[in-house]
């Protein structure tokens, strides 16, 4: 295949060539960045929380009339007992927060009392001896809380539990060179001992600001008596989430009417919690996906349109070439090569444009740097797209009969 004549022909269609190349460049730049955004969001929203999500229900219970915290403990215990009686319920506990809740309690853990800057950030989950069982957390070292070490506190009391259970990631952050089990740390200036390490448990927040310590969670053996209320987490037998969820409100109102359980989102299965927490990421991924598809379709259509026009314009020349002995295959590969040359020019500009666009977005928004794999993948996709789009007009061109050369001259 000779490139020289193709280049010579393209010189006569400068504007059309530049427009196609420009469009391919723009498409590449946008598609690379969009794909990269999609990949980041999908990675983010498919992060595992570490709990047995399929079989968990979250219930938000709010007390009416501000019962004092001494009374709240009793009310909560009664609720938990009632919830355990629902058929299909495996275990229940009450807490302040859970992964993906997007609201919770965070503290710093220190090696020494009165340290200036905390050694590790951590989310605090108020727990009892039922927590590990309810959430389905895997204990990798140490032990669960004992029933007799569960304390009680009011929301504005100072948190200072004598023992804690931490996640493996937090244990590693605190003690990179050995086991964290049995070590003494300081939480709010109070000494506390690590009695257990669980495999993994995410913090309640999915936003950027917590991404540096997304798996640094701490379980404290304390029941938080909040007069406004709190959350009940329920683990059901496999497959019974829906049937249990239906009975929760009725059961709790049956125990005590002076409460509010939002009929809309007071009782949620964990899949609903997950969908809500990641709605923004999911939306962005879908939006970018739609943009990619539309853009690729339009570019392909544009190539088909313009090449068809060129084929129409050059019927006579093609006829002459065929009459002079060029085969079907020669004509076909002429147009394919022509497109390849234009596309190559386009993707080179496009790759630079993609990287420039990403660098600008990194400087403006909280975005990561584009990995070269995406540019490379985009280049391959666009080159293939160009070849596929040009195929139909090129086939039509190859079918131009040699007799065309003799017509209308």
């Amino acid at each position: 295949m000779q490139i020289q004549p193709i280049l010579a022909a393209l010189k006569r269609h400068k504007a059309g060539t530049i427009l196609i190349a420009l469009q391919i460049a723009l498409t590449l730049a946008i598609v690379c960045n969009a794909l990269f955004i999609i990949k980041q969001r999908v990675t983010h929203l498919s992060r595992a929380t570490g709990i047995d999500e399929q079989n968990i229900i979250s219930v938000r219970n709010q007390w009416v009339g501000k019962p004092p915290s001494q009374q709240v403990s009793g009310l909560t215990a009664t609720d938990l007992t009632a919830l355990r009686q629902i058929p299909g319920v495996v275990d229940v506990y009450s807490t302040n927060s859970y992964p993906l809740r997007q609201g919770g309690w965070s503290e710093g853990l220190d090696y020494k009392p009165n340290q200036d800057h905390s050694t590790a950030h951590t989310a605090i989950y108020f727990s009892d001896e039922h927590t590990l069982g309810t959430l389905g957390l895997k204990l990798v070292e140490g032990r669960n809380f004992r029933a007799d070490e569960i304390g009680r506190m009011d929301i504005r009391d100072k948190l200072g539990p004598p023992t804690i259970i931490v996640t493996r990631e937090l244990a590693h952050k605190l003690y990179p060179d050995g086991s964290a089990l049995g070590k003494v740390l300081y939480l709010n200036e109070n000494p506390t001992t690590i009695v257990g390490v669980v495999d993994r448990l995410e913090v309640p927040w999915v936003d950027n600001w917590a991404s540096q310590w997304a798996e640094q969670s701490t379980l404290v053996p304390v029941r938080l008596a909040m007069s406004i209320g709190g959350f009940y987490l329920i683990r059901t037998q496999p497959g019974q989430v829906d049937s249990v969820a239906k009975q929760v409100s009725k059961t709790l109102y049956g125990v005590n009417r002076m409460r509010v359980i939002d009929p809309k989102d007071g009782v949620q299965s964990f899949s609903q919690v997950r969908a809500k927490a990641y709605a923004r990421d999911r939306g962005m991924a879908i939006l970018m996906g739609v943009v990619c598809v539309v853009l690729l379709a339009i570019t392909a259509a544009g190539i088909v349109g313009l090449t068809s026009f060129w084929v129409g314009q050059r019927r006579k020349q093609i006829g002459v070439r065929r009459a002079l002995g060029a085969t079907h295959h020669d004509i076909l590969s002429y147009f394919l090569t022509e497109n390849l040359l234009i596309s190559l020019g386009g993707v080179i500009i496009g790759a630079l444009l993609a990287i420039g666009m990403n660098m600008w977005m990194v400087s403006q928004f909280e975005m990561a740097r584009l990995s070269p794999t995406y540019v490379l993948a985009g280049v391959v996709v666009l080159l293939l797209l160009g070849q596929a789009a040009v195929l139909a007009p090129a086939l039509r061109a190859s079918r131009v009969p040699p007799v065309e050369a003799t017509r209308s001259v």
Binding site: L19, Q23, G65, D157, I228, I286, V291, G305, W310
Partner: protein, 439 residues
């Protein structure tokens, strides 16, 4: 003459329906994608009070010192109880209010109904005139009520409807957290987005929930209705409970002040610095004054209230529109140059270049109009389906209105005409003699 060009354009478009459809589709999709994302962007980035926002100010006081500052040296976003109350007592702005978010339960009088959970704010009486809050019935409580800690409330029309039906509920009693409050005012559908008066306590500042209850600040504090927003502490409160929070240096109170002119702003700035200076003298602050006084647009920008996702999406959609225009320009070029013969004949018969320009730009404009019509349809569908894709608190704000419709058509026609400029120029350059010879 224009009618003639329209007819010519129609005939030309009909001659190659495939190419025409392709261009219309391209423009339609490009315009619809950018208009849909623009509708979302417009909804979240709009000025909530364009007539007044530059007069509303958010003061920040550095009560934590260097150890509590953000890495860029900014003081805390909210205030502790001590400072907020001092600023309220000094009353140096024309209008001002400290406020905190509450989410109490309301017990309906009808014993058969379950208690409901509402959200709202504890504010001072000047909150309402400061933010031009519209009332359906009644009005705000008075400054006296603030001072007396009166048990009064302003409720939303929705809550009023739920508790009392359609009647004017001013003077009736509403039970909040087990205590009775007299309704003095009913709001008229007031739900500004973003919830600009208390961005700090509101996550992103957007919410689908209405604010149902407003109580006098001191009344709510006295009834120990707790804050339901953020509480940030740089030191653990010495005492427990809500009272402990009031005595602590934890921040949980938002503050807004109205300052009508530049002189008032300067004076208020001096007042804030003077206050911080006094606190330094008194030994409460061990550092020089480090206050901020931002007006509302600056504040919303500082707090990044417009989600960056929305901006990125708008940019990507604009990129899509540009790619679509380049595509259309290529197709128009092909289409116009194919008619070199026709142009040659027209030019030879005496048509000036201007006539060629008018004819082909008319054709491009028609494609733009058709693309715009399709774009309108797709934008309508896009905005309607945005709620499937984006979080509800943002998606519910995006809507199609007259200005969006006009803008869609305008963008479409303008952009297509722009894309048609170069192809038209090329068409006008056709040499009549050359064309006539070769045919």
């Amino acid at each position: 003459m224009f009618g003639y060009y329209l007819e010519l354009a129609l005939r030309s478009l009909r001659r190659s329906p495939g190419l025409t459809a392709l261009m219309v589709l391209t423009i339609g999709f490009g315009v619809a994608a950018s208009m849909t994302t623009y509708s979302v962007f417009r909804a979240v980035s709009g000025d909530p009070m364009p007539w007044k926002s530059s007069k509303l100010f958010v003061p920040q006081i550095d009560m934590w010192g260097p150890s509590g500052r953000a890495s860029d040296g900014e003081p805390p976003d909210a205030m502790d109880y001590t400072d907020a109350m001092k600023l309220m007592r000094d009353h140096r702005a024309k209008l001002q209010s400290a406020m905190y978010e509450i989410s109490p339960s309301v017990v309906p009088a009808d014993a058969g109904k379950h208690p409901i959970h509402v959200s709202g704010h504890a504010v001072y009486s000047e909150f309402f005139p400061m933010l031009d809050v519209p009332f359906k019935f009644g009005s705000s409580w008075s400054a006296d009520d603030d001072a007396q800690r009166a048990a009064v409330a302003v409720i939303s029309s929705k809550l009023s409807q739920k508790l009392f039906g359609d009647a004017n509920s001013v003077g009736k009693t509403v039970n909040v957290e087990g205590k009775d409050y007299r309704v003095v005012g009913v709001l008229n559908e007031w739900n500004p987005q973003p919830r600009f008066y208390d961005v700090v306590n509101n996550g992103g500042g957007f919410s689908t929930d209405f604010e149902d209850v407003f109580l006098p600040f001191q009344t709510a504090v006295q009834a120990s209705i707790r804050n339901d927003g953020n509480t940030d502490c740089n030191a653990t409160p010495a005492e427990s409970g809500f009272l402990g929070l009031q005595h602590s240096s934890c921040t949980w109170i938002a503050y807004m002040a109205e300052l009508d002119d530049a002189a008032a702003v300067t004076t208020y700035r001096q007042y804030l610095d003077g206050y911080a200076h006094d606190q330094q003298q008194a030994g409460r602050f061990g550092w020089a004054p480090n206050n901020r006084l931002r007006n509302l647009p600056q504040w919303l920008d500082y707090k990044h209230v417009v989600p960056s996702d929305t901006k990125v999406a708008l940019l990507v959609a604009l990129g899509l529109l540009i790619a679509c225009l380049v595509n259309t320009a290529g197709l128009l070029l092909a289409k116009f140059l194919r008619r070199s013969g026709e142009i040659g004949v027209r030019r030879a018969l005496g048509a000036p270049r201007l006539a060629i320009y008018t004819q082909f730009l008319t054709e491009a404009g028609m494609i733009g109009l058709a693309g715009g019509a399709l774009g309108l349809l797709l934008t309508g569908m896009g905005v309607a389906s945005v709620s499937w894709v984006l979080p509800r608190d943002i998606a519910s704000l995006a809507r199609v209105d007259f200005s969006l419709l006009v803008l869609t058509l305008l963008v479409s026609v303008m952009a297509t005409t722009l894309a048609g400029l170069y192809p038209t120029y090329r068409a006008a350059c056709v040499q009549p003699a050359w064309q006539l010879k070769s045919n």
